[in-house]
Symmetry: C2
Subunit: 178 residues, 2 copies
Amino acid sequence: MAETYRNIDDIKNLLKVVPDFPKPGIQFLDISPVLRTPGAFRVLIQELERSIDFEFDKVAAIESRGFLLGSALAYNYHKGLVLVRKKGKLPGQTVAHTYELEYGTDTLEMTEDAIKPGDRVLIVDDVLATGGTAQATQTLVEKVGGEVLGHRFFIEIAPLHGRERLKNNIHSLIIEGA
Amino acid sequence: MAETYRNIDDIKNLLKVVPDFPKPGIQFLDISPVLRTPGAFRVLIQELERSIDFEFDKVAAIESRGFLLGSALAYNYHKGLVLVRKKGKLPGQTVAHTYELEYGTDTLEMTEDAIKPGDRVLIVDDVLATGGTAQATQTLVEKVGGEVLGHRFFIEIAPLHGRERLKNNIHSLIIEGA
């Protein structure tokens, strides 16, 4: 018998903690059971939509699980989808931003003309942890003159305080460790 | 004035050839202008849907631009989305398949229980070139007892004959070099 998924509480049980992935000591929260369960993925997208209380022109989706959420959102809203990727993966002219990690640095890129000055942008990713990636994406959007209207995440790891590094309007469907 | 996109011919002009990416000698066909142009991305997804003439249970999307198409399709059809990724990127128990490239080999992985025996699967990626990745994905799906009903691509590079390595039912929206 197929289960019915109506809201975020219904799909929360599908999340799976995978210990020591990708490195020892990290508890990875696996969202793929939500993706592959038909009704559950639909609820996830619909709940993200319910949380979006502003107009926007483009969705900036962060590689690579952010692509999964951003694509369905951009399609449903008839908006453009802009990819934010690790260094060297995007062809053509790009803008880059390098940011600090706990150990070392990382660089994100976006195609230079993907966002026009004045474009209102929604930034999407699956998980908000320390906020470094989301903050770097915000910086990239602003570098080319776009305006970040908000951030949306499926899951937020509250004890890492990523939210504090971002501007308004931030919303996560599930808040862990709050 | 916003342009109107109604069919594949309308969006074909948005594709951009980027020379020598990611390596010298390779002409990269960049689909990102289609993604970021609101009406164009919608037409792309709708045309893929018009081409799907069979029932299926799961969409297997190939990392990482296949995620963009697979996500919107899985959402619209109320189906499950299964990720096919490069080695080491998926948490938990996975199945793997290693295949030959022109120089060396590559390995794709899928979560072991993402597809159940008897699941009817649609495989999706942005570009069909030599067909190695799509064929490896087909093998992965069959390893866990799934049935591949068809392959869908945005673009097919006809002179590379990728189609010949795949089973029925194969369809690409744009065929280059035919």
